[in-house]
Symmetry: C2
């Protein structure tokens, strides 16, 4: 090793992944699609196998002071399923590896697994393996999910075409506001006097809390699109934030985009909380992340079909690449879309 | 959660896995074999897909004071390939997830990936995905490997039959002795006076060091068995130690076994180091672990074929279950085989 030292924060997570994976030649015919999308695709016979993996670390991705273990297990599984749905596939199997520090008992880990089991039951996914080890530090959760799809049904990030409509399911920013609320209540609880019983004030905020603690993968949207005969030209799930994902699709597809500020779907509770916290609502929706909604593009000719779908919003359109990615604000001006999504390699969000 | 607290060390890693995974019903026809072997098996068309995963944590599975990052990368990949070979399959793809603490630079991680890349090149495996994140503590490496096999060629742990011969590839205990050597030299180096250049004394010990730092998966053995028309009745790789693996096969197959102390293959360097460290050589070979050799059983009728194979030792035979698992010592007495293999949930080895 020479003496060059590039801080990881200088190139970011995606820069690091690009750099690490660029020189891996593919050896097998069965490897149909490797690094660079939500899941890898392998081809075995008539069905393609999809695989995706997520690593969740205590103190980085979750804080056990306010996340119940069962919810954590549920969410850890569901975020992987979401990646398979984002390929237009069906999740089938997961492996779960855990690194467990000495403060956890068997019952703690069973609670975590209860959540994983519940997610598996609801989504019809099989646990097929894993690895369990002690950890000298915090809890480590690594989940790999495999799924399948007919090869010509798989939707990549790279298929968006000029004039395509940009759509997103559900609403955005709620999980982020839920996290703000949990962190505030945790600070208040920590400041409560000894003997004083602290009752967190969550009334009327159930939706944003559930979006943070127990998100769902949009199996229903994938099913609905299929039933309506709509095949997206590109798709991915919103985990790092809409801005970040839009830029991924633009980069992979070699296109630009325009999205409209007033079209971004936001729930009432999210708006109320943003007001209470004095946070910019649109920025929270664009960059908050952890929404696990589906962002996808469809040909302009599907406009009427999409318009009729419940729970899907058209937020903009795909442009020539030289126009870049921008948001059209309510007053008609354009501001560039920048990835300010959650980045595990920087201290501040 | 109720107030019951079972320490994980009380039931051990396998007890914990049994307990956690016993209530996971399988939902999909494509899930042919889930938890309970070296890899899971999924069925898609004519080929079965194999998947296995390993979680490696700094301070538990490796110590960066004496393990070069490139070697660590190589080994992390190879131990997964070994699990696929142990199913009589061919590794095809891996995903690599990393949790990286702030003391690592991009170049460090590239060094780790150099080792992974080398392993992928040598074994013809494709890197197809992963996840990279900051870690507030040490380095976390989670690798999932997928492979394939014709369904009727897959070898499980559960097929051993009474009178079958028990065979093992290569030799045992060397990786464990290599670790002892590295740990000693590290202690000596730590005690060296400031300014004093410390030169570790590794001459004549290259083999045991390589067995610890850069183990290989026995692709060659799987190929050779195939060429000779030998299909093992059961097989697994020796990662936790021969004793532990023998008990796995006995339990899964519902059989007992007898192995002969004087048949256990041990390299000359391993024996010399055991002498130098005043360690019981046979115990090191039985319980040291990290050998990544293949332990397998074949029908008695394959005796002549096996005898001709280079690098394979017959070490005993399969018995009725009521006879239990025992080692026949040089003086003809029998001692029970006990799993004293490496256990990440206990402090002492």
């Amino acid at each position: 090793m020479d003496n060059k030292h590039t801080e990881i924060s200088a190139i970011g997570e995606f820069g690091l992944i690009d750099r690490l994976t660029k020189d891996f030649p593919l050896h097998n015919d069965s490897t149909f699609k490797g690094v660079g999308d939500d899941a890898a695709v392998m081809s075995y016979g008539d069905k393609s196998v999809l695989v995706t993996t997520d690593l969740l670390l205590e103190g980085i991705h979750f804080d056990l002071r306010y996340v119940p273990l069962k919810h954590l297990g549920y969410k850890s599984a569901v975020v992987n399923f979401s990646d398979i749905y984002a390929m237009n596939g069906t999740p089938r199997q997961i492996t779960v590896s855990l690194g467990i520090s000495s403060r956890f008992t068997v019952e703690h880990i069973e609670e975590l697994y209860e959540g994983i089991r519940l997610a598996c039951d609801i989504y019809g996914v099989d646990l097929v393996g894993g690895d369990t080890s002690a950890s000298v530090t915090g809890l480590v959760i690594s989940i790999t999910c495999m799924g399948d799809a007919d090869r010509n049904e798989i939707v990549y990030r790279s298929g968006a075409k000029e004039t395509d409509l940009i759509c997103v399911s559900g609403d955005l920013g709620a999980a982020y506001m839920g996290l703000q609320l949990l962190e505030r209540e945790n600070r208040v609880a920590a400041g409560a006097k000894e003997g004083e019983t602290f009752q967190p004030d969550f009334a009327g905020k159930e939706y944003i809390l559930e979006r943070q603690l127990k998100p769902e993968a949009r199996k229903d949207i994938v099913k609905m699109l299929h039933e309506q005969g709509i095949k997206p030209t590109s798709m991915m799930d919103v985990s790092d934030g809409l801005s970040s994902e839009l830029l991924h699709i633009c980069k992979s597809s070699g296109v630009g985009c325009r999205i409209y500020e007033d079209k971004i779907p936001i729930d009432y509770q999210t708006a109320v909380m943003a007001e209470e916290f004095n946070l910019n609502l649109v920025m929270a929706a664009m960059n908050g992340g952890e929404d696990y909604e589906l962002l996808f593009t469809v040909p302009l000719t599907d406009h009427e079909k999409i318009e009729k779908l419940k729970g899907v919003s058209m937020i903009g359109y795909v442009t020539k690449p030289e126009l870049g990615a921008a948001m059209v604000t309510r007053d008609g001006s354009e501001i560039p879309v920048k990835a300010q999504g959650w980045n595990a390699f920087t201290q501040d969000k």
